[in-house]
């Protein structure tokens, strides 16, 4: 027997959708096997995981809290990847965003929320956009591939933050340097809560998702971005200002990722500490890819992954399984999605041996 891969002509939407669903399912099965390998009780762990994610109203609200930054970093990845700009700087832009928001909020400690809130949010967007703006300039001016500039900037910002928080100007006074954190922000800078643990950041994230959807589908700038992704050479021949489109796309993406850092700082942590922000950027990349690089899909997957990471805390407490299981699960799901979407472009054909 001879098995062959043959390219499908005009892959169906049904197949595409099914491939995402199957890939996520396969990710769950693989994770169960991983748990089995680490000799954990799979049923107890999964039960605690799902109860922690969806078991009560409070659990569901916590899921949305965890989803909030992922929606924003996911959107940041959607914007650049749709334009086929391979920026993986979301991780560093989250840090820069939180730093921008912290700088504004701590400088305006006496001002009321109506003043501090919007300004700190703007600081977050500016922080993220500065990082991505550097990468865009390096690409436009010096032909530096954005993959490398954004990766290197991710490492650079982490060292910069580490300096600021341990020995540098933002180190919490009176504590040992070992905490690597700033003091708490004044309460006037905290985002208001909507219900229980759920803070107003979710509204910002959902509004951003709608805005990105409208931008990509309904505006000429969005069209330019998608056209850049589809055929850069054609765009250049049409006389379009490609460097400008790259810059605008990158600035928008950086602002979204920075927003994630700002919202997490002002809504949840209220102090700056690198550990709190770790993985939000890379998580957003996975969310965007598994969400099919569409804003709606990104929101849905961010809520799924937010639920997993919020449930993982319960799982760790009840079954002892480390909550980093979620990172492993996300990585596995991503790989299955890559295989699944690629395979959806093909059909398997069987024929008897020649």
């Amino acid at each position: 027997m001879h098995i062959k891969l043959e390219q499908r002509h005009g892959s169906s939407l049904l197949w595409q959708g099914a491939s995402y669903g199957l890939a996520i399912l396969a990710g769950f099965v693989a994770t169960a096997m991983l748990l089995k390998l680490s000799s954990a009780d799979v049923t107890t762990a999964f039960e605690a995981l799902f109860r922690g994610a969806l078991g009560s109203q409070r659990a569901m609200l916590r899921t949305l809290v965890a989803a909030t930054p992922l929606i924003l970093t996911g959107l940041a990845a959607v914007v650049v990847f749709r334009a086929r700009i391979w920026s993986i700087g979301q991780e560093g832009q989250v840090y820069a965003g939180a730093m921008g928001a912290y700088w504004v909020a701590s400088s305006l400690a006496d001002a009321p929320l109506v003043v501090v809130g919007p300004l700190a949010i703007a600081g977050a967007m500016l922080g993220g956009a500065t990082m991505s703006g550097i990468a865009a300039l390096l690409r436009n001016r010096y032909e530096v591939n954005e993959i490398f500039s954004t990766v290197m900037l991710n490492y650079i910002i982490v060292y910069l933050l580490s300096f600021l928080l341990s020995g540098g100007p933002w180190t919490e006074a009176g504590t040992t340097v070992a905490y690597h954190q700033t003091p708490l922000l004044a309460q006037t800078a905290w985002l208001p809560h909507l219900a229980g643990p759920l803070h107003a950041g979710i509204l910002i994230a959902l509004l951003a998702a709608i805005a990105v959807h409208l931008l990509l589908e309904r505006t000429s700038s969005g069209y330019d971005m998608r056209a850049l992704g589809a055929n850069q050479t054609a765009l250049r021949f049409m006389g379009m200002d490609v460097p400008r489109i790259v810059l605008v796309t990158m600035l928008l993406s950086g602002a979204l990722a920075g927003l994630a850092g700002g919202v997490e700082l002002l809504g949840v942590q209220h102090r700056l500490k690198a550990d709190y922000l770790f993985g939000l950027g890379y998580g957003g990349i996975i969310v965007a890819m598994v969400g099919g690089l569409r804003p709606a899909g990104t929101v849905a997957v961010a809520i799924l992954f937010g639920g997993l990471s919020s449930g993982a805390v319960d799982m760790r407490i009840q079954s002892g399984v480390p909550d980093s299981l979620i990172q492993a699960m996300q990585g596995t799901i991503l790989l299955f999605v890559l295989c699944g979407t690629a395979l959806a472009r093909y059909r398997l054909t069987w024929s008897s041996a020649k």
């Binding site: 032909e143 530096v144 910069l160 990172q327 790989l335």
Partner: protein
């Protein structure tokens, strides 16, 4: 400060440069072969991390260096095979493939590490000892810098002329280079493009895994998540900066290693700059290096493009 003290720092600085260069060089020589075959593997970071982690687990369990190295290489080869399957067979964009490999490796190693050390003290161990060359290691300065290193360090530097000879002086090497320039030509000659690209990718990943294992066992006393800390990315940048030529890539690797060595010696040297900022230096310089290398680039013409007959 006495002259003797300064000389000791100088020797230590250079010896550390050679040591730090070892994992980068092993990986760079492997990935050079991969990229010359047209496969743009950006999953180097994740592959190196996996090599380091598997070496850690294997050594903690078995206590045997050879087992640890063998398992690290095998695990990295599996990642190489997955990379090849995605980018050659399924023709997924090479960047997306590498991104997937990096994120997978990052998640899996983090989880497995946390599961492994859960509820017990983190095992630590002595790094592999140096093997001084007889007579040569007695030469002042040069002896301590070059000839009092670990076996794999000698192997890594010996690999450079070997890879050069393979690429430029053998028929297989010529075919491999042609693969990165014009795969269709090889296909027309009836040579198997897919098999060669698989082999080149798995070979590169094996050496990257070995580099990761050395990173762990050669100079770390314990594993920390994200141990590779961007070294895989520096390897990819070194290939660009070195214009895909073994000797120039080696110079780029040595430059990065020297910078990292300076950062780790900053206190001994008495630098007034905070050490975190010095540690960020290789990443800053790597961007500068790409800026300087632009325009002179002779990257393989078909690098990163999945070959398709139609």
């Amino acid at each position: 400060m006495s002259g003797l003290f300064q000389e000791a720092i100088f020797v230590s600085l250079l010896a550390a440069t050679i040591r730090i260069a070892t994992p980068l060089l092993l990986s760079a020589m492997g990935e050079l072969v991969t990229q010359r075959a047209g496969i743009w593997n950006v999953g180097v970071e994740g592959t190196m991390l996996t090599g380091a982690f598997i070496a850690y687990i294997a050594y903690a369990v078995s206590g045997d260096h050879l087992t640890a190295f063998a398992l690290a290489i095998s695990a990295a080869m599996v990642l190489g095979a997955i990379t090849a399957f995605l980018s050659v067979t399924l023709r997924v964009d090479h960047f997306i493939t590498g991104l997937g490999i990096n994120l997978l490796a990052s998640g899996l190693t983090l989880f497995w590490f946390r599961s492994f050390v859960k509820g017990k003290a983190q095992p630590t161990f002595d790094s592999i000892g140096t093997v001084p060359f007889p007579y040569l290691s007695d030469i002042p300065v040069i002896g301590s810098v070059l000839f009092d290193q670990r076996l794999l360090t000698y192997a890594a530097f010996a690999l450079v002329p070997v890879v050069w000879a393979f690429l430029y002086r053998t028929r297989t090497g010529l075919e491999l280079r042609a693969l990165g320039e014009n795969p269709a030509a090889l296909d027309t000659m009836g040579l198997n493009v897919v098999a060669r690209q698989y082999a080149a990718t798995i070979f590169g990943s094996a050496l990257t895994g070995l580099g990761g294992a050395f990173l762990m066992l050669g100079f770390s006393d314990r594993f920390v998540p994200e141990l590779s800390a961007g070294r895989g990315w520096l390897v990819v940048v070194a290939l660009i900066a070195g214009n895909w030529h073994p000797l120039r890539v080696t110079s780029a690797v040595l430059a990065f290693s020297f910078l990292e060595s300076v950062a780790t010696h900053s206190q001994a040297i008495g630098a007034a700059v905070p050490y975190q900022l010095l540690l960020a230096l290789p990443y800053v310089i790597s961007i500068a290096i790409i800026v300087m290398a632009r325009g002179k680039s002779r990257q393989p013409a078909a690098l990163g493009e999945s070959y398709s007959r139609s």
